[in-house]
Amino acid sequence: MKTLKANTRVIIPSITFILGIIWVVYGLNNYGWWENGPGSGFFPSIIGILISGISVIAFLEGRKMEPPQYIKASYYPFLAAFATVGMAMIIGFFPAMFLFLQGWLKLYEKFSWKKSLPISIITTAILYGVFAMWLMVPFPAGFIYNAIRG
């Protein structure tokens, strides 16, 4: 199994520390602490100070702990979802969704056509029925369809 190495036990508190500092700096400089009452930056700055402080403790605790193990496969749905969204802009949402389902089941899970096709077709049909027909969400039809329609 392919694994990834990253000590997220210290990376996460580092990110929250930086975010806290950004919140304080922006809060005090851009939004204001007090003008005849608490300004827009008053509350977020307090939260920024608190999270930066607690992130230092979390960072120190994280340094003593074993980092968690990540496997590459965990990121496949993330990458596949991004690719599907990109594809949706070109060929439309539902064809992209069908290709994603079929591609995943066939290429990653190594299902046979006989097993994967019915799952992909039925799932896409249910999604179309619920989201496009029932909830009437206007999904993008894609560049190709729009170009053909002019």
Partner: protein, 505 residues
């Protein structure tokens, strides 16, 4: 008397054909999703949230509540049959439920779980009917100072209780508050932390955030090698599942005891169904008639855990509706749903929206009965539901997440936000940061900020106002004790150790 009249009027709302069907559909979907191992009630409610868009607010929330409620029933099925809890509250059910299944009584364990859930839910809803309006009346006496203190307590206690490390609970909570400050300042309406992005100017959208944090992060987790569930090659029939008279009598005591305990836990801000089921089980282990046999596969264990978690889920509606404070992450999703529909839970909800409030409470009674009927009738098909492999669930849930996030925002920004939240949620969970407090804080932060700033306006900038009012002072002292409790505990342990060391020498 007034409560009964209002409740009867509520039944008038709940029993309209549309609302009844919405509750029935919610119960069915909630049970199926809850039964699938690895999804859990929070992800289940988050994934099904977009389905309620079609309805008016009353029907939408009734359906959402039924989904939440039925999820609690469904979570126990995989605990009992394959020893993998469907969600946190079902962990305690596995202790006796799975050994019962192994002893050849899977049907009876499921029947016990369903019946106890029904008893727990019914008692919880009855107590909600009584305490909800009373809590709302109490809430009406709260000014911004008291509300700000109460909200801080609600956020902090949850952050403290969850996860292996209080520090991480606090980081999660504060991160949720920070995310909520993005967009327009709710007090003066000026833009904040949008960093020039039009999307951020509108704030972080709730639904894509929830779907990503709980639904998509779950998909990423599912890709990891999982604990293999025990084999489910058993036959289930309704006939073999029905309890006889003596078994029903054995079930009643623990179920009723746990129901009262669970409801109280559910009402407390920051506790919830997981804590409820844990305490219900532990109490039965201490005082139950068959306490020595607990853990060996007896129905009292299943009854205690299941009645407690369902009653806690029902009890959690009391602070949610009357004070606007959810008791759990799932409650936060419901609160987000209410806000999305333009309803502001809090002391005035009972006064301003009686039709909605009592309709919702009445619909919980209806949903409880429907869920029991559906739950009992699907017992023979449960094995098939549990056999749906993760290999198929991963692409299907991913597709639902993408569609749900898009439909919530009608733009790709929603999908991008969902994916980013999912990515962040996955890493937070891997590092033992509890994400339910993040969501709870995100939902509560705007109210907290408004009341916090109003308190400072009243006091002209002095924080001492929180100590000058008795209710607020009591809450702040409780808050400080909660924050300091890990330090105090460590101190006591150190003193004990040093004393033991001295005695040994």
């Amino acid at each position: 008397m007034e409560t009964i009249t209002l409740l009867l009027q509520g039944f008038g709302t709940a029993l309209t054909i549309q609302n009844f069907l919405a509750a029935a559909a919610g119960a069915f979907l909630g049970l199926i999703v809850g039964a699938m191992p690895g999804i859990g009630s929070l992800a289940g409610v988050a994934l099904l949230l977009p389905l309620t868009f079609k309805f008016n607010p009353v029907t939408g929330i009734i359906m959402l509540s039924a989904i939440y409620y039925a999820n609690m029933y469904g979570g126990s099925y995989s605990s009992i049959l394959i020893n993998i809890p469907g969600d946190g509250p079902a962990v305690m059910t596995a202790i006796d439920g799975h050994p019962m299944a192994k002893k050849g009584e899977p049907g009876k364990a499921l029947f016990t779980s369903n019946l106890s859930s029904f008893i727990g839910g019914t008692i919880g809803i009855i107590i909600l009917t009584i305490t909800g309006p009373a809590l709302a009346r109490l809430g009406l006496k709260f000014g911004p100072v008291e509300m700000a203190a109460l909200l801080m307590v609600a956020m902090t206690s949850l952050g403290w209780l969850l996860g292996d490390n209080p520090t991480k609970g606090v980081v999660s909570t504060l991160l949720g508050v920070m995310l909520a400050t993005i967009g327009f300042d709710i007090v003066v309406g000026t833009p904040r932390y949008d960093f020039g992005s039009l999307h951020l100017l509108g704030g972080i959208s709730f639904i894509p955030l929830v779907i990503g944090m709980f639904g998509f992060s779950q998909v990423m987790e599912m890709m990891e090698p999982r604990k293999q569930g025990d084999s489910v090659d058993m036959k289930l029939t309704l006939k073999d599942s029905i309890l006889n008279k003596s078994e029903t009598r054995r079930l009643l005591g623990p179920a009723i005891r746990s129901s009262f305990l669970g409801t109280i836990i559910g009402i407390l801000p920051g506790a919830g169904a997981t804590t409820g089921s844990f305490l219900g089980y532990i109490t039965e282990k201490k005082i139950g008639k068959n306490k020595d046999k607990m853990g060996t596969g007896i129905l009292e264990g299943v009854a205690a855990a299941e009645a407690a978690n369902n009653s806690a889920a029902a009890g959690a509606f009391a602070p949610l509706l009357s004070l606007g404070i959810p008791g759990s992450g799932t409650g936060a999703v419901l609160l987000g749903g209410l806000l999305m529909y333009g309803l502001t839970p809090g002391p005035r909800l009972f006064q301003n929206e009686p039709e909605f409030t009592w309709g919702l409470i009445a619909s919980l009674y209806v949903a409880n009965v429907i869920t029991l009927i559906v739950a009992l009738s699907i017992i023979p098909f449960l094995i098939k539901i549990l056999k749906v492999p993760v290999k198929i669930m991963v692409p299907i849930i991913t597709a639902v997440c993408i569609m749900g996030a898009y439909s919530a925002s009608n733009s790709l920004y929603g999908v991008m936000l969902m994916l980013t939240s999912g990515f962040a949620g996955f890493h937070l969970k891997k590092n033992n940061y509890p994400i339910a407090p993040l969501l709870l804080a995100f939902v509560l932060a705007p109210t907290l900020e408004r009341d916090f700033r109003r308190s400072f306006i009243i006091s002209d900038g002095s924080p001492w106002i929180f100590f000058q009012r008795p209710i607020a002072c009591g809450l702040i002292i409780f808050l400080l004790l909660t924050i300091l409790s890990p330090v105090i505990r460590k101190g006591i342990e150190a003193v004990k150790k040093s004393r033991t060391g001295t005695t040994a020498q």
